[in-house]
Symmetry: C2
Subunit: 343 residues, 2 copies
């Protein structure tokens, strides 16, 4: 039996320190950060309170960073950088956070980013209201951008987020190997919002279609890569780095890339994993532990890493279509960060 | 002791039969009805299933009717009626339904329109997802209208709905008489969406500001009137006509117009009602029954009817600024319907 491979940073292209690579947009992110906590709805201080409680709880701000880097990378030299790009970044993070808050209700999750979820700390009712509040703030941001094409892009993102959640619900405990369905679900749940953030700034900048399309593809591929790494970390991570228990996807019947690589084999390991899932043995810790060790000891981790690298490379390829700049360099380093992250 | 007044139809201006008064836009409503059940997000039949389950469960379609009547009443004779007005009507109903589904989770409601709520029939998790799905469909409709001003109007409506819910939450069991706060909450919870529907069509029709403003004021006043009547029906209605238990607002600590009219008096009745609320006696059936009889037997029902009539008249006044048409007539009759409705 082979030793389970460990998945550590620096094994692909040298992982970058996130703060360092976001340096070119650090000032923009600081402005966005303030806006995230601003009550745009009315003068009720309770709303601002709720917003600061959510946004001071953490988060890597990956999506607004991508949005800002892509906006800066495609900015016309003859125009000043518009505040609308900051609003775009804020709106992208608002939608992300809103969907997390509601997903945690739907998935009955109790831990997120190493902290108690809103539904756990308070209750489902406050979590519903908070999520709605964040979606409302996002809609107000969207209206300030005054661009009907961007309204359409983000409207579809909201639809995709629900569609992804529904697809995931309906594929629970399914041991059919359908890679296409897995990737489509990852696009809906994650990549659609990454892509919206990555190419909307170029639309605002009035870029040509080739640039806009390249940035959309960058976001889509990076988003799929991000989701695959997320699914991998659920298999390889520890509670201390992940902020939630390893194997929690499997425990909830969520069959992702690492499991699919085992299930597509026609051998005893595939049969055993299938059995553990079909009998719901994975719901209990002993079942999850056995399933995880099947996955870890039979090459599925390496195969998943390879899969994520394929999307990472496709994301990077798109960047060659942009003019060189520190912003483009950071977009490239972000791909390395995503593929080597451990949390 | 005076006999409790009953609040029946036909005591103001002669109530109109809803179907008859909506006749001028019946064909438009039929098209809107189809669109309400259309999955705009993807090709997943499960989404269409969920949508038809929700929309076949009923609802009076008052908001889309107002939207369509106002659109038709301000339509330019030289232009064909645009499908965008139908989309506007659909989006208005989608937001309304989404907020009801989430409100029922937040308020732990088990009955709505005489049927079990989504959270009761299934669970909170599906209700969260369904509400989000409806908001997403609304966003897609909004993007199809391609009008940044209308995006702004509906963005603010979403914010108002949350703000209204928060205000309501924070005013629970408060016996302070603050009419301004009561009206502001009613605007946020109800009238803001009525107003969005009533004046957005005129914006699409390129009407002058006076017409647009008149229709906005019409919607605002009608919406406030609608909310006051809603609050009144909770005091005067029966389970059979309301689809939920009478007194359920009071039982949940919701202090509305009929209670405020008693509380603002400095007499024994005011003191007793205050006590029933402060001690949470209203949470139990005997407490609610006593509170309801104080309200019913001391003129608060009549005062609330008078208050609702004031807003009804202000709504009607605005209509004089529109050209005469069957659509304008129906908008007028709708005010009578709202003020005399019993469910």
């Amino acid at each position: 039996m082979s030793t389970a491979p460990t998945f550590t940073p620096n094994d692909v292209n040298g992982a970058s320190d996130l703060t360092a690579l976001l340096e070119p947009v650090a000032a923009d992110i600081a402005v966005a950060e303030e806006l995230l906590e601003t009550n745009m709805i009315d003068d009720n201080p309770f709303v601002a309170d709720l917003l600061s409680q959510i946004f001071q709880a953490g988060g890597k701000r990956l999506r607004p960073a991508i949005t800002l880097l892509a906006s800066r990378a495609t900015q016309r030299q003859d125009l000043e950088f518009s505040r609308l790009h900051i609003i775009l970044a804020v709106l992208t993070e608002l939608i992300h956070t809103a969907s997390l808050v509601h997903d945690d209700v739907i998935d009955k999750a109790s831990m997120r980013r190493g902290k108690e979820t809103v539904n756990r700390k308070w209750n489902d009712r406050l979590a519903v209201l908070l999520g709605d509040l964040l979606f409302a703030q996002a809609s107000i941001c969207l209206s300030r951008i005054m661009n009907p094409v961007i309204v359409g892009i983000y409207g579809q993102v909201l639809g995709d987020l629900c569609a992804g959640e529904i697809r995931q619900m309906r594929q629970q405990y399914s041991t059919d190997v359908d890679w296409d369905a897995y990737i489509r679900k990852s696009v809906c749940k994650t990549a659609s919002l990454f892509a919206a953030g990555s190419h909307s700034g170029a639309i605002l900048n009035g870029c040509d279609n080739e640039t806009i399309f390249a940035l959309k593809e960058y976001g889509l591929n990076l988003g799929i890569c991000f989701q695959i790494v997320d699914d991998l970390l659920d298999v390889t991570g520890s509670t201390s780095t992940m902020g939630k228990q390893a194997g929690s996807d499997l425990q909830g019947g969520l069959i992702t890339a690492p499991s699919l690589f085992i299930l597509e084999r026609k051998d005893a390991q595939a049969a055993r994993l299938k059995e553990l899932i079909n009998t719901r043995a994975v719901n209990e810790e002993t079942g999850t532990t056995e399933a995880l060790s099947i996955i870890r000891n039979n090459g599925a981790v390496e195969q998943t890493i390879e899969l994520s690298k394929r999307y990472a490379n496709q994301a990077k390829e798109q960047l060659t279509k942009l003019p060189t700049s520190v912003f483009r360099d950071s977009l490239g380093s972000l791909v390395d960060y995503v593929i080597t992250r451990t949390s």
